[in-house]
Amino acid sequence: MTYHLPSRPKTPRISASLSGLKPNAASSNPLELSRQLAFTRRDFLRTAAGVALGSTLLHSPVALAGAALRKRKVVVITFGGGARDQETFAPEGQENIPHLIRELIPQSSFFTQVVNRGILGHYVATASLATGVYETVNNFASLPPEHPTAFEYFRKDLKRPSSDAWVVAPSNGFNRIGESNHRSYGAGLGARVILPKHLLTAATSGGASDYEHLLRDNYETPFYTPELGGNEFELHQLGMMLKLSVDDFKAHARTLSSPDELSVYIARRLMRQVAPSLLWITMHDIDIAHAGAYSLYIDGIRRTDRLCAELWKTIQSEPEYADKTTLFILPDFGRDSDDDSGGNGFQHHRTGDALSRTTWMMALGAGVREGVVYDRAVESVDLVPTLGSMLGFSASLAQGKPIAELL
């Protein structure tokens, strides 16, 4: 058996020789670079999807109708290991995201400049997205976030049961993502977390010779699988909660090509059987880029594009979700630029440069204006307060602010 070697998401990859650093050609000012990225995305979108200027549509009837919705549900899809513009929204990359470009973006409010000022490791960045605070927990350890998550605000403020907030996540390292260790929230107030790969591990219990590869926890630390220590979903609950036998689960897994497909399968089952009001799905296939094989990175982008569209279709077709659900799709952060000599292009997100910190977000569905692009900078920690405003909870300890364009 072979192993990938670790990347170092906590490491800014101080260049092997500081004297070898070279400034970016365009600008060395991160804020200016972020702004340029945003405008470039707007140009790409204008030509590809024919979307409108955001400020002209403020206070539209669509928005007001959305605000009046009751029993609103929210689904959040994040994907770890963002994809760069040149492989997605740029003209040469649009062939990789046909569903996002042609189907989803025309229906969405699209934010071209979502800046992540935190640590660029997938677990800690996802924890930051979920808490609205730039978390500093060890990316490699099985630790809960230090600040309350959206799930805790949601359940405590609105007195919702545990079955109403769920996380579907790719790896053992995410098993604590649903609940913080904050003393005013924490124990018993978080989301249920389901780890489909972990379930598959339990279901197959080492029956296949190649299975070790599948169990790679993630692509940042693919040789290391943290011990589970939270309230993870256990195998016997498949039948109780999802009405799915272990045999059916295994049989279906054998028809799927990737862990993210398995996650989406479980998420759809969850929507059908449990119908949580707040559902958070974290995908991870794109992050195979850390292994350095560009073709596999592109395959991951194309698969993620397809899976996002499939989930949107599910939302529209499930009676519990149709017409009352807002879907958010956003990468946790970007990847390194080809122009930064401290990195190695698409492979990692180590440099902390503007491209690796600046990404995008789309929102679509209930209460959201369609076909609008917003260039102003928002931060990834703004997501939780925005969810709070939509669902009616107060993210009182979050650092971010509600995104006015979505309210």
């Binding site: 991160p30 660029l120 040789f223 292994a291 073709s295 292009g345």
Partner: protein, 421 residues
């Protein structure tokens, strides 16, 4: 401990030449901020195992630092001096473990949101240094060659999309005997301009027959070392309490002998020491190259698993560190990544190859090879050739090649190289 407290005897654990170097410049090092100095010491401690170009650059940097007045030093390093460090970092044994210190500094910079400030300081320092000590121009214009697509008969993707705007695309290259022609041209350059580790051949599979004047690294020849490393990692991972940080530290401590280097048949390298007889002035040239190869496997992500990743990363590191005058990189098919359903079935058997996926990997790899070559001194005079192996497509980039053009001229690779010269 702070830099001001440095004493010569604290460097007793350094290899002999590194110790001599650091002692010589100790007065200058004492004036440097702690947020900077260990990064420099991380380079110094490996001085005995560095390529000639790296040694020269490091020596010049130290000479420059020692030439700065106290006021100038403050001005040069004010950005680094403003970085706030923790007590734990100050207590760390950064003299003897500078690389581990830098790892912890990295984590500290992320968690305290000082990464951007560090980047600004580092970039400013690099610009000042480049102005004060301009990089040395190469003895002859550099030539980079990348060969992609081994094992591919037909493909649908448009090749060289990123490189075509920078040079001339040729659609009727005569492919016969192409690799041998290229390696021949490499050998002639190496013999005409002999220098240690200046002319490289990197192969993502088994190396083709080549002249001993070339420094050669190949994925195929490193199979025993890759196997040894994989076994070591497996053993470490299974130990209780092992985590990624600890494992990484252990990997960084591996030496060539730990992976079977220096045992004759397993070396997988040969090199041209005919110019000076010794690559590192006192240490054997093999030791330098062996360390380089160990680092490719222990520091490169994916280099053990995918031959395309290995070839690209090896080229990147050779360019960054050895600054070769000539570099030929040949990509080979990597193993196929099985989809989940196949893994669940557990088909067993030897890994299949994925030539088409490897072609896509190698195409972007060629672009990165060119980018990394262009980061070196003399970029405006450098040339670069990428060829689809055993096929008629190639792109030639260089001062004599018109940008963004296409040619249907029938030409062999030797002819193309002569146009580029």
């Amino acid at each position: 401990m702070l830099p001001l407290d440095l004493k010569p005897e604290q460097f007793a654990g350094y290899p002999p030449e590194a110790r001599k170097l650091v002692t010589e410049y100790l007065i200058a090092l004492r004036r440097l901020p702690l947020s900077f100095l260990p990064s420099l010491l991380r380079e110094v401690v490996d001085y005995d195992f560095k390529f000639p170009a790296e040694r020269k650059a490091l020596e010049k940097e130290l000479v420059n630092l020692s030439s700065l007045s106290t006021e100038q030093t403050k001005e040069w390093f004010q950005g680094f001096a403003a970085i706030r460090l923790s007590g734990a970092l100050e207590q760390f044994d950064w003299v003897n473990a500078p690389a581990q210190f830098v790892e912890q500094l990295s984590s500290h910079l992320w968690t305290t949101h000082q990464l951007d400030a560090f980047r600004v300081a580092a970039t400013a320092y690099a610009e000042r240094l480049r102005a004060a000590v301009p990089p040395e121009a190469p003895a002859i214009p550099r030539l980079g060659i990348t060969v992609i697509g081994q094992g591919v008969d037909a493909h649908e993707e448009v090749l060289f999309r990123k490189l075509r705007p920078h040079g001339a695309y040729f659609s009727h290259v005569q492919p016969e005997n192409g690799l041998a022609l290229l390696l021949d041209a490499m050998a002639k350059r190496a013999k005409a301009h002999p220098a240690v580790h200046a002319h490289w051949y990197i192969d993502g599979g088994q190396a083709a027959e080549h002249d001993a004047a070339l420094t050669c690294v190949s994925y195929g020849a490193l199979e025993p070392a890759r196997g040894a490393l994989s076994n070591k990692m497996r053993a470490e991972i299974e130990r209780p309490g092992m985590g990624p940080e600890t494992l990484r530290t252990l990997l960084a401590q591996l030496r060539p002998a730990d992976l079977g280097f220096g045992r004759g048949a397993d070396r997988g390298t040969n090199q041209a020491n005919d110019a000076t007889g010794d690559a590192s002035g006192g240490k054997g040239g093999d030791a330098v190259l062996d360390r380089f190869q160990v680092k490719l496997l222990t520091e490169g992500s994916g280099t053990q698993v995918f031959s395309t990743t290995f070839a690209q990363w090896a080229a990147r590191e050779a360019l960054r560190r050895a600054q070769p005058l000539t570099l030929l990189v040949r990509f080979a098919p990597r193993q196929r990544q099985k989809p989940m359903n196949e893994m669940l079935v557990g088909s067993g058997g030897p890994p299949e190859l994925d030539p088409l996926g490897s072609l896509v990997d190698a195409d972007i790899g060629a672009y990165y090879n060119w980018l990394n070559q262009q980061r070196l001194p003399g970029a405006e005079q450098s040339s670069f050739l990428v060829w689809f192996e055993n096929h008629g497509e190639a792109v030639a980039i260089g001062p004599s090649m018109p940008r963004g053009t296409e040619s249907t001229t029938v030409v062999d690779l030797q002819g193309m190289l002569s146009w580029m010269a």
